[in-house]
Symmetry: C2
Subunit: 422 residues, 2 copies
């Protein structure tokens, strides 16, 4: 790619973008705002707002309890089947339920109980901390009969597959990683790591929260055992929208959630007092599913399926390469580092840039320059590229504004300490 750093070039790229029309599917009411945090919370699809209005006013307001028989009961499966298409999994291998954390807990406990003679759990220090906490909690809950082996990254950017493979042995019950690392954006080799884990006799659990919707996944092809993820990042499902859980078909009879709620019960309206797990993915539900939020998620998934993951990935790669090209020309010379892998094959859809003043720069960008990235401790500015709505000209403008903040030291009016939450 022959990089040009002028704005016209970005406009040309947008003009040639076959996905450009999808941008108008989202609510964008401040054209000056550059939103690069779709990897934390995706933008609002217009269809979701409309669908939610219908679900609230017609289904809840008018149909009331009848809504359950008119589509609500099957909504977790229906949403799950669409997520399955984005995962490269079978439609009967996914269900929408609860939060990522709760689903991760269910799968970890189920997996450890399915490997009762093994004591080692492998993860790494690039994993999203919540997953590590949940592992620690599960271990304590199960009587500290297991130990957690946390593989350490040498550079904070990536962990070579061989390093993970070397940790696996015949005592390993479970290997669990976040497929796209939340800080660096490093993407693991799902096929190779899953195969290695299974060869060691362990189960493999992927958290795909930072991947799904941004790049094609191939759970079936990689024979992945277990997966969880959220719907509020690249899936644009809304703040705190329901998560999903996936269990490979041939493990579905064997594995059992530890949370035996009535939506996981076979024949739940028989109201029998002895739990009998439902067949298929239904047993991974616990309580009553959140209908309004699920309703909002569904049309957001349709948009991604319409755009197509291969095209979204192609655009995402073009955009992150473009961003890194601009970084090289305009930001690297003024002290900004690249905290993501340089090789696009190892990179998801966000790019982390490092600067010693990243915390204050982040604040200046948000409060004074109308650019929203996010900050991740200690020095990362994460720039999330959501190919379904992010434009090339936004990337260009973000780099220009970021350069202005640094060159003119516009961040100096902000304190160096962390605000309460970021």
């Amino acid at each position: 790619m022959t990089l040009r750093i002028d704005r016209d070039y970005a406009l040309e790229l947008d003009h040639a973008d076959e996905l450009a029309r999808f941008r108008s599917e989202f609510v964008i009411d401040d054209p000056d705002l550059i939103y690069l945090d779709g990897n934390s919370l995706g933008r609002l699809p217009k269809r979701s707002a409309e669908r939610l209005r219908e679900a609230v006013e017609h289904e809840w307001g008018s149909r009331l309890i009848r809504g359950w028989n008119e589509g609500w009961f099957t909504l977790p499966q229906r949403v799950g089947a669409k997520i399955a298409q984005l995962l490269g999994a079978r439609t009967d291998e996914v269900i929408a339920a609860d939060s990522t954390s709760v689903n991760f807990f269910k799968l970890v406990v189920a997996a450890l109980r399915a490997r009762p003679t093994r004591s080692k759990i492998i993860t790494d220090d690039l994993n999203f901390p919540s997953d590590v906490y949940l592992l620690q909690g599960a271990l304590e809950l199960l009587g500290n009969r297991h130990h957690l082996h946390v593989v350490r990254s040498a550079d904070g950017l990536a962990i070579p597959t061989d390093q993970l493979r070397a940790a696996m042995d015949d005592d390993t019950a479970l290997v669990t990683l976040t497929h796209t690392a939340f800080k660096s954006g490093y993407v693991y080799d799902m096929a190779a790591i899953t195969e290695a884990a299974q060869r060691a006799g362990a189960l493999m659990l992927w958290d795909v929260s930072h991947s799904i919707g941004a790049l094609p996944l191939e759970l079936s092809k990689c024979k992945v055992d277990l997966a969880v993820g959220c719907t509020y990042k690249y899936l644009n499902g809304g703040p705190g929208a329901p998560a999903f859980v996936s269990v490979r078909k041939d493990l579905q009879d064997e594995l059992l959630s530890p949370i035996w709620g009535w939506f996981g019960q076979r024949g739940q309206f028989d109201f029998q007092l002895q739990y009998q797990p439902a067949q298929g993915m239904a047993r991974w539900q616990a309580g009553t599913p959140n209908i309004l939020s699920l309703a909002a998620v569904e049309p957001a998934l349709d948009l991604l399926l319409e755009a197509g993951l291969d095209r979204l990935r192609a655009k995402s790669v073009a955009q992150s390469e473009y961003l890194i090209g601009l970084w090289e020309e305009l930001l690297k010379p003024i002290g900004v580092t690249l905290n993501s892998p340089r090789d696009y094959r190892q990179r998801g859809s966000h790019v982390s840039l490092g600067h010693v003043e990243a915390l204050r720069i982040d604040r200046a960008l948000i409060e004074d320059l109308n650019v929203i990235p996010d900050f991740r401790y200690p020095d990362n500015l994460r720039l999330g590229l959501a190919p379904i709505y992010t434009s090339f000209v936004e990337i260009h403008e973000a780099v220009m504004r970021l350069r202005r903040v640094i060159v003119n030291r516009l961040y100096e009016k902000y304190p160096s300490e962390r605000p309460e939450v970021t």
Copy 2:
């Protein structure tokens, strides 16, 4: 009460009802529909629809990720504090989170681990089955070191406090009951049972799903240890809306959820890899809270607080007494039984009527008579009275239509077998 069975009397009662104005706060677009299932899914408050629109379009659509710092982070506590007022608990003793099932699981596991030398868990067969399943799952998870003692009701209607008390001993770790029984509407003596459980050295966990919003609760006064409940019944929070969890202040440091998610972590944005539980109720959160649903719940709670629980309870009692009076005159003679306690002090806000053809009657009422009660196996027609919007004339009309279905055998066109879900 001198009962008159004419419609004018119902109109007079409505005219005298000091809460009547609250009915107009709800979306009621079919004035002929008699909705008596607010104990399963409450009606849509107009304010909730409006608030949800604002949360979607302004907060998510325009403010995007900034929404977290502009109110979302504290929403579970804010909603929890309002629920606390309805529970008669301290505002720092309640948080909105997850589903009732997931919260119940957390509390059960935490409670059993806080009583490590005791092996008995007491519940009864009037409990909502989901709670029993969750207990069974928790027991298996903890290695079957405990046993579940299910106290059996002699008549399916109620369980005398003495019968429960007799089951408690110095091996009892936990007593857990649903405060208003989901079938019969029987209301337990919260003060006496909690006191007995604690005297035995056990922890007491109440599921108040079928009570909250319909009658005043006094968690603090009764020194209740633990409670859970949902927000989609009398709280009118919407289908599958988030649930809540309550832990008495002086137990909050001692008890720990087994699900160690990042929203329960102290300083969650430090992203440290070692779990440290947050102080107070925050530790009972796991993953990212569902913001849109919580936003819809809040104004629904405000409505109940405005109406006042004492007034709501007074109206609920007047309405259930009126319904039972009509039953006595008009339905009992044609074979309908009362499957709820006759004494209002032992009755929540729904009344169960029994009939051998209840399943088919329920269907005829819904499909042909525009009345929505619900059916509960084997022969219960549950009529839920939500005093904030149910009118006396609706109760009158429901009894008239029910009588018509039975007298004219309008149910005979429907099959006797159960539909897939009800």
